[in-house]
Every structure is written in structure tokens, then in C-alpha cells.
Subunit: 488 residues, 2 copies
């Protein structure tokens, strides 16, 4: 007996049966299920991260741990249970999260409810108040990799929105506002690099409007990308928390002047949502496409087997694997005899192996093989003696091309609007829209209501303060340049 | 305002104020708090793993991930929420865990309670029943690194017993009993190697008695070590689960004979408890002692600074760091001017840096420095030109010596008893006791009651079936040789 959610994971056909450009949500779900990266758990709103998906998360961890170490950030682990009274201490923060929380009711000696952490500011900062005594204890830079719960999610969108997900949350304490602001922005830039260099995802760096900023933050910085369907996806955030939490949690320290001081704080995070962003950005109607750097397997060799040449061909395939593995390429041979080469081609295209090498007796005679790149699906004949070099070249080229293609899509679909008509037209045509705007929470709410869901994504960091420009919506003097879009 | 648990973390004196041999629980707690590896959370029964402690956990992960990969085990992630109905399916398992579980009450669309995972057999095996269709899908080998909740814990013993801790749980499915049994034992041996090679902890490999085995298992294997106070500590377990869970969760597959078959399953785990075992085993009355392989910092250079030679000495210290770091040694210099060398010596002894190097102007003149190993605290004069080699030699020697010392303690304190008097005497003298025993749950319960807590730890894997021997307790024919001890 299984629960009613189970059928969500069932898909009759092996291949992808809907087109990305026609029904992206259904296509996205099929790609994840059929490439075996993730599936729906038999628990409302929850997902199971399968080995193929978890390998991407490990690649992100392996990339980002040394980056954090460079900044002096240390990993630690705090409890997932947060006493209800901790939430009450920072009022805005409490209000922002209260609806999303799962509670464990008190029993036995426990006198209050505990929340399953929706984020760890409160539990960490209570402890920081004991750790930070003097300016010599600063800066304090702590990170944790952990699971997070947002209980209000009923309907799981794999990797993008679920009751439980994995993330990294960095929490720092500084003596001065300048250090705090500088490092909050520096982490944002590190997130941008991670997206670009590892996941081949171009992002805009920006600041959230007052309406969209983190509950309890002074300023929220964000990286945002444009998905192929014209919706924006927030890929990571970094907050300058100001001194509000320090005040609420009594983090004081003896300053260089021997007086009691209030420190400045930042927090920043990325999550398993990045796996979803990567899959949605690059995959196609044949299935999963992954940037080579994060693909669990980078090369599959499919031998073309006939009875009289089987041994020779398998031997050649093994040699290819041996040579590639020695160079650090993650390669394997599909030796199964119960499936045809064509069946295998489809399987590994569906599962997103970046390069396929086909080799049969006729290739062997000519000392060549066929190389097929997953993103272009173009066949290329390669001399066996050049193969190692060619594989490395094509892996790099694919990583580069995926980024360039996504970047082009983002620029081609960034629209500018000076009035409501242009704005709604651009949204209709699956673009995100840059506008001059008179920042005001009420106006943002109005726009969201009128468009059934278009929200401000960010004020790009490189955009100048608009002087003498008028707000596209209200006609008032514009205060910022903002990107609006539908979003995930 | 802090909760009442907070004072637990407060220690007036900087150094350790109780002796290991006089009051081990208090000594252990002081070592962890003062070396800043962990502390009590302001939540009943929970701990905070500080960076020094988490670094040990990362070292364990970095060691064990490649070991698992060698066996074809893949990392994944399953939800921490487990529907109550899942627990009911395997009756023994449910009974074994029900008291330990924290529940999230249903609300909104949720129709049943969810447990915070106390272990993941049920949630994983429900999913395995969809993944496993044919013998071609076997063996299936999945691992997850995650947090675990045992809610009944009210009083946290740092790393050893807490409401929440971190662990690794491997879950495998096999066609045959032989494979299942072989790999369940193989993982136990890998755990033994991890303890020996990384943590310098000697362990006995054995099988749990029927009374002590895992709820729902056919057989439980365990690694056990003897702590300096004569108590045993379970360091890891590996279970041959038989076919009970497969039956309960309907994991069937089409066999090579085309008939429906029931597979065999294993599960195995180690946890952050290993950090506690390592600290308790090796540390001393000056503070933390860590095996060099897992120490976050392996070498500290303390320069002896005078005004007229300060620059020269600091320069020499920096050169030492540079040379050691190049060789992969984790080294740093303590340049602080506000503390005396003596104060620094105490600090780094307390915090368990394996090697201290002292260098002052007179040493520099003689082209030597002083090297002090943390475990022996013996001073050795070393030529600067030999330093690199000497550091590497001493790091290796220290890793080796810590293991040998612990191993000698274990053998010296393994007693044999043939009757009740010898048995209780040995326990009184802080030994663990090997006895011939007529295995029987009732007898084990009686022994536990009479001794206020002595339990069977394991049937050592290398012990033969006792023929013609009598049970030390009941006088009946002995069926096994068992180690008894008090335990953590």
C-alpha cells in the first residue's frame, strides 16, 4: 500500500513526452523523474533527492567549501529545534516566518513549542551572544550545511519549492558597517561566480526592494536568473542584517575603545534549488543536459558489438576508459548485451551524460571513433590517437557554450518599458522587464494583483540612480531602476 | 535572557580543573567546552557542534565517502518527516523506536502525524519498493548523511547522547543472503579501519546478542571500544536485516528465474558520537589531544618575541609555516603580542594542537628550534634544516602511539571470568569481562539489574562456539562467548 502521492512519479513512456517550449512545468518534472535526479516523496510537499541529483549538490559543496575557507568562514552545526520564545525576539523576523513553521508540541519536561528551523538566525545569534565578548572575537564567520523546513508548502515542485530542502547558511558578525556591507556583497559575487563557473548559469546581481527583502534584514542582495519560459528564479541571497538581531539577541562586545558596542551582522545562503535551476536552464526535449563540471559521469562509451569482433571492440572501449580516467575524466563503458546501441544512445541522452563515444569494428579498423556531444547532438569522427585531447576540448567547449547560450537568452529577453502597455506586452512575451520605478510597497502590490503575480526581482547593482526619470507605473519621479518578472 | 541550560557551558577557569582519573564525566565535559569543540544548546538535550568539532566530522566524511564509493554506494537524501503509518508496518521496528520519536501533529491537508526521523529504514524502503523491479536493479546501495532525532533524551552528554545528532546511514538491497551477510560484515570491517587509521581507536568487532540487536534486524554487528574509565562505547553498527523489512514494505523483484523474489537487506551507520569517543580516549588533564590526521591545525609556531629581535624571529616563524604548508601540513603562527609565550603554550595544549614549535632569538642564533609533542609534552631541540622531516616523523609517530596506547589499555583491561564473583570484581576494577554464557534475554536482564547497568556488548567475531563450557552465571551449557561491560 502506498500513499496517494505515489502516482506523481509514474511515467509510462521512457522518453520525454512533452516539449519544453509547450509545457515547461510538465517537461521539467518529466526530465527530473526520468533522468532519476529526484522524485516526489510519499509525504505531502516533500522530495527525494536521488544519487544523480545529490551528486550535483556535492559538487556545489566541494566548490563552495574552499571559497568560504578563503574568507575565514568555518563550518559548524546548530540544532534544528528552535524554541518558540526565540522567534518572538526579533519582531519582523517572527512575522515573516510564522506561517511557514512546523511545531513540535511540548511534552514531559519541555515547557514550550519548538519550531523545525525555517532558517537559523535566532538559534545561532542567541549563542553568538555568548561567543562574542570583545573586538578580538570579531569578525565571527560561521556556516552550516543543513536541512530546512518550510511547512506551508503543500505541493512540491521538485528542487524549486518543497517542505524540506538542503541549503548552506552563512552567518557573520562584524565590528563595522563597512566590513559587513563589503562582505555581504562579496558573498553575492561568489554566488554569481559559482553559478557561472560551475552551473553555467548567468545571473543578475541586485538588491531587493523594501517589500521583497528578508524579514529582519536592513538590505537584501540577490542573484536572479531568467528561465527559458520567461520566469525569474532567485538563485541565492545575501543580507546585511544591520544591528537589529544584535540588539534583539544582546550581542554586545567591548570595543577597541573599551566601551560596549553593538556589532553588524550578515547572513547568506544558497540551496538545492540551484539543482532545479541548472536542469531547467540547460535540458532539452531529449532529456537532461548537465554542464560537464557537475555531471556525475562525463563520458559514456557505447561499443557496437558483433559476435566475431566483440572481444576486440570491448578491449578498445576499456582502453579508452582507462586513458580518460587517468586524466581525471569521469568515464564508463556500457557493456550491457541485453540492449541495442540505439536504446543506449537514448538512455544516456535522457540521463544527460555530456559526451557519448561510439566504437565498432569498422571504426577500429580505421583507428577512429564517433564522438557525440549531448548539447549539440552532432556526430564527429575522431582519430583514436586524438581522443583524449578532443574529449577534454569538447567538455570545456560544452561548459562554455551552455553558459553563452543561457546568457544570450537572458540578454535577448531583457525588455525595457516606459509605460504600462509596454510592460504588460513584454511580460506576455516571456521577458523580464527593466523599468524606472518610484519605489513603494503599495505600487508593487497593485502591480502584482493586476498581473496575477508579476513582482519586483531586484534593483541591479550596476544601475545608476535615475535622475529626472519618471516611474513607468505612477508617473512620479523614479527612485530606482527595477527588474520585474513572474517568478518561481 | 537565556534559558536555564546556558550555565552548563560556563567554566570559570581556563584550564581543566578536574582530573580524568578522578571524575571522567566532568573532565570530559570540561575538555569539550574549553577546547571549543561543542557546547550545550539552549534547547533541552541538544548540542551545538562548534567548528573544531565539525572539522573532525568533515574528516570522517572525507575519509568514508571514497570508501563507500569503492563498494558502489551512492549518496542520496530522503525526507526527515516519516508518516506514522510507515512505522506500523514492521512491528518490531515500531516497538523499538516509538518511545524515542518527536511528532509533528497533522494540520491543514495532512491527515496523519509525522515523526522526525529516528532512523530511515521505513521511509527509504517504501521508496525502494518502487525502485527495485528486477534482479538487474540489484544490488541497490544508498547512503545518506543527515541529522537524526531521538527525542526522549533529556540530558545531553555532548557527542555521546543527545536529542539530535549527525550520522551516516547506509541501506542496501541484495539478491542473496550471502551477498547481504558478506557486505554487512565488510562495512563493519571498514568501520574498524576508520577507527584505527583515522581516529586511533582500537575496537572489538562482534555480534550483538538477541536482546541487544537492532529493532527489526536479523543480526546486528557492532564495533565496541573500551574507554579509559572501563565503560564500553559502541562506535558503529551494521545490520543484516534479513527479509522482514522487504516483506513489510513489499520490496519484490523478478528474479533471474523470472519468478517473484524477496530480497535481503542491510543497513549500517556511524555518527558524531565517534568525535566523543576520540576526545575521551586520547585527551588528558591538560586538555584536548587529537590524532594528527583529524586535527584542524597540526602545528602551532609560538615565537618568543623581544623588541630588538622581533622582526627576525617572526620572519623565521613565517618561513617555517611556509615550508610546512607546502608539504601539506596544517600549520599556523600565533603572532599575538598581548599574550605571553607561556599563556599561548597552555592555550594550544588545551585546544589539542599536536605539535608546538617554539622559536626565539637564541634558537635562531643556533639555527635550532624547540619541538613539543602534545601527547608526550616532551621538549626536543631540532635543527631548523631538519624541521620539516622531523615534524612529519613526529606527526606519524603521535598518530601511531595514540593507537598503541589505547590498544594496550584495552588488552590490559580485558578480563575473563568463570563465576559471578570474578565477574563483579572485574567490573569493579573498571575492566570489561569476557565470559562463557548461555544466551538468554532473561539472564541478561537479571545481570543488568543486579549490577545496576552491566550489559552484554558483543559476541566477538573471532570467538569459537564454546563446546563443553559452562555459563558463568547460570551454570548451563554455554552457547556463546560474550563481552559484558558498563556502557555509554
Amino acid at each position: 500500500m502506498s500513499t496517494k502521492e505515489q502516482p506523481k512519479n509514474e511515467q509510462k513512456d521512457k522518453g520525454i513526452t512533452v516539449k519544453k517550449e509547450e509545457n515547461m512545468p510538465e517537461w521539467y518534472e518529466q526530465v527530473l523523474l526520468k533522468s532519476e535526479l529526484a522524485e516526489h516523496a510519499p509525504i505531502k510537499g516533500c522530495m527525494i533527492i536521488r544519487p544523480g541529483g545529490y551528486a550535483v549538490w556535492q559538487a556545489i559543496q566541494d566548490y563552495f567549501n574552499p571559497v568560504m575557507a578563503k574568507y575565514g568562514v568555518k563550518n559548524a552545526y546548530f540544532p534544528m529545534f528552535i524554541p518558540e520564545s526565540f522567534f518572538e525576539r526579533e519582531a519582523t523576523h517572527a512575522k515573516g516566518f510564522k506561517a511557514e513553521v512546523a511545531w513540535i508540541e511540548p511534552k514531559g519536561e519541555d515547557k514550550q513549542r519548538y519550531a523545525i528551523r525555517p532558517t537559523s538566525e535566532t538559534i545561532m545569534y542567541d549563542t553568538f551572544s555568548h561567543w562574542v565578548r570583545s573586538w578580538r572575537d570579531l569578525p565571527l564567520r560561521i556556516n552550516q550545511w543543513c536541512n530546512i523546513c518550510r511547512w506551508e508548502v503543500q505541493d512540491c515542485k521538485l528542487f524549486l519549492r518543497s517542505r524540506e530542502f538542503l541549503w548552506q547558511e552563512g552567518h557573520c558578525v562584524y565590528e563595522t558597517e563597512v566590513e559587513c556591507e563589503t562582505e555581504a556583497k562579496a558573498m553575492l559575487i561568489e554566488y554569481q561566480k559559482l553559478c557561472r563557473d560551475l552551473l553555467a548559469i548567468p545571473v543578475i546581481t541586485g538588491q531587493k526592494t523594501e517589500k521583497e527583502k528578508f524579514a529582519g534584514a536592513k538590505r537584501t542582495y540577490t542573484i536572479e536568473t531568467l528561465m527559458p519560459d520567461g520566469k525569474a528564479l532567485q538563485c541565492g541571497t545575501s543580507h546585511n542584517l544591520g544591528q537589529g538581531f544584535a540588539k534583539a539577541f544582546k550581542i554586545n562586545y567591548k570595543g577597541r575603545d573599551m566601551a560596549e558596542q553593538l556589532p553588524w551582522q550578515s547572513s547568506w545562503g544558497i540551496s538545492t534549488r540551484l539543482i532545479g535551476a541548472t536542469v531547467m536552464m540547460h535540458s532539452d526535449n531529449k532529456g537532461l543536459v548537465l554542464p560537464p563540471k557537475i555531471a556525475q559521469q562525463q563520458v559514456v562509451v557505447v561499443p557496437i558489438l558483433f559476435d566475431d569482433s566483440k572481444e576486440k571492440v570491448l578491449h578498445a572501449a576499456e582502453k579508452i576508459i582507462h586513458d580518460l580516467t587517468k586524466e581525471g575524466v569521469r568515464a564508463f563503458v556500457d557493456e550491457r548485451t541485453e540492449y541495442s546501441p540505439g536504446w543506449k544512445f537514448n538512455e544516456w541522452e535522457l540521463k544527460g551524460v555530456p559526451i557519448r563515444i561510439e566504437i565498432g569494428p569498422r571504426d577500429l579498423e580505421k583507428k577512429t571513433c564517433v564522438l557525440v556531444r549531448r548539447d549539440t547532438v552532432k556526430k564527429e569522427i575522431v582519430e583514436l590517437s586524438d581522443l583524449k585531447k578532443e574529449v577534454e576540448k569538447q567538455l570545456e567547449a560544452m561548459q562554455h557554450d551552455l553558459f553563452k547560450k543561457a546568457e544570450k537568452h537572458m540578454y535577448d529577453n531583457t525588455s525595457h518599458a516606459t509605460n504600462w502597455h509596454e510592460f504588460t506586452e513584454a511580460i506576455k512575451h516571456k521577458k523580464w522587464v527593466k523599468v524606472y520605478f518610484h519605489e513603494d510597497e503599495k505600487l508593487e502590490l497593485e502591480i502584482k494583483e493586476k498581473t496575477s503575480g508579476v513582482t519586483s526581482r531586484c534593483i541591479p547593482l550596476d544601475s545608476p540612480i535615475p535622475k529626472g526619470k519618471k516611474c513607468f507605473y505612477s508617473g512620479k519621479d523614479a527612485t530606482v531602476e527595477v527588474i520585474f518578472a513572474r517568478n518561481y
